[in-house]
């Protein structure tokens, strides 16, 4: 038995929760800048501290929270707001569906916990890790999720307090943090699937871009994201045959 190999594996699984926290750190800048920006936008949209806190804690979805503010400002009826937020966040269904099969051995309650704290970023980090390790501990995901959730709540509320002094967060380029994070996660994904599949994956990205452009003429972009993903992934399956 090779003891050094055993030691390495032991080191990796000893504190999966702490490892999850550590793996969340690179995403924190994104959470903090978007969260602070949201707090500022929320207070500029005349939301009070309780409303900002409730949105942050209960909805916990960056883009949806910004859209909520915009819809409230334009006097949109509540049911239309709720339906719009549903469509905007429906992409999480696809993300949960692709992560969930790795966690079936855990209880229903743990699974509800995993799903409740799934965001674009934690999904990106978790799926990148899964591509590398093929297996994942629930404690690791908890560490990642709870760190991200805590960072989000603190920065949104911090931003709401800052909102009294700063009024235009987009001037500082902070709104681009989220897009930059998607770009980095996409590159990490391409790297983890390996060189042999690179051409095929670049091809799929091209298909997504074309579908997005076509769909943008017929539907809101949030819906285009979901449909382009569904179709392009299906094309990926066909290409693999």
């Amino acid at each position: 038995m090779n003891s050094s190999v055993e030691n390495v594996q032991y080191e990796q699984v000893k504190h999966p929760f702490l490892q999850g926290i550590r793996d969340c750190i690179p995403t924190l800048l994104g959470y903090i800048s978007i969260g602070v920006a949201f707090g500022i936008v929320g207070s500029a949209s005349q939301l009070n501290m309780i409303e900002i806190a409730l949105l942050t804690i209960l909805v916990y979805a960056g883009s949806a929270q910004f859209i909520f503010c915009a819809l409230v400002l334009s006097g949109t009826p509540p049911l239309v707001i709720i339906f719009t937020i549903f469509i905007v966040n429906l992409r999480h269904f696809l993300m949960s569906l692709s992560v969930a099969p790795y966690f079936t051995k855990y209880s229903y309650l743990r699974n509800i916990g995993f799903g409740s704290l799934l965001t674009d970023e934690t999904f990106g980090v978790a799926i990148t890790k899964l591509m590398q390790t093929k297996e994942m501990s629930g404690r690791w995901l908890d560490g990642l999720n709870i760190t991200a959730y805590a960072a989000w709540i603190v920065s949104c509320l911090g931003g709401a307090l800052l909102g009294k002094w700063i009024t235009a967060p987009e001037k500082w380029g902070l709104d681009f943090a989220l897009i930059a994070m998607f770009v980095a996660l996409l590159v990490l994904q391409l790297q983890s699937v390996g060189k042999t599949k690179l051409t095929k994956n670049l091809c799929l990205i091209g298909i997504v871009a074309i579908l997005m452009y076509i769909f943008s003429y017929f539907m809101p972009l949030h819906l285009a994201v979901i449909l382009s993903t569904i179709f392009a992934a299906a094309i990926g399956v066909v290409m693999d045959r």
Binding site: P26, L29, G30, S33, E51, L54, L55, L58, V59, A64, F68, V72, P78, I81, I82, N89, L90, R91, H92, F93, L94, M95, S96, L97, S98, A100, P101, T104, Y108, N111, I112, G115, S116, G173, L174, F176, A177, I179, A180, M181, V183, A184, L186, V187, V193, N201, L204, I205, A209, M212, Y213, S216, L221, A224, V225, S228, T229, A232, A233, V237
Partner: protein, 108 residues
């Protein structure tokens, strides 16, 4: 909007956001997904991440969809740095700085 209605609207948004997040986790515990569905799911990460990037590059307008040029200009150095460094934090920082510079010097 009164505070009361606002809070119920937020709760409504929370429920419709929460359900799509948790339903797959509960569903796959019951049902073993066929291998073709698993194959399809394996393409979801790349497709959805690229769709989210493209979403920000596009601006749908009256009858024509155009590019959001300030985002495109910030996107290029961000992508190059992501490929070069493969680092999440460096990419995010570089992206924010490029966007700030573009907003200051190139009012698009």
């Amino acid at each position: 909007m009164s505070m009361n209605i606002m809070i119920w609207t937020i709760i409504g948004c929370a429920i419709v956001t929460w359900l799509p997040r948790i339903i797959p986790f509960l569903f796959v515990k019951h049902v073993k997904l066929p291998s073709i569905v698993m194959k399809w799911l394996s393409f979801i990460p790349i497709c959805i991440l690229s769709a989210l990037v493209v979403e920000n590059l596009l601006v749908p307008g009256d009858g024509i969809t155009s590019l959001n040029w300030s985002v495109v200009f910030a996107f290029i150095p961000t992508l190059l740095l992501a490929i070069w460094t493969k680092s999440l934090s460096v990419t995010v920082l570089a992206g924010v700085i490029s966007m700030a510079i573009i907003r200051i010097y190139l009012p698009v």
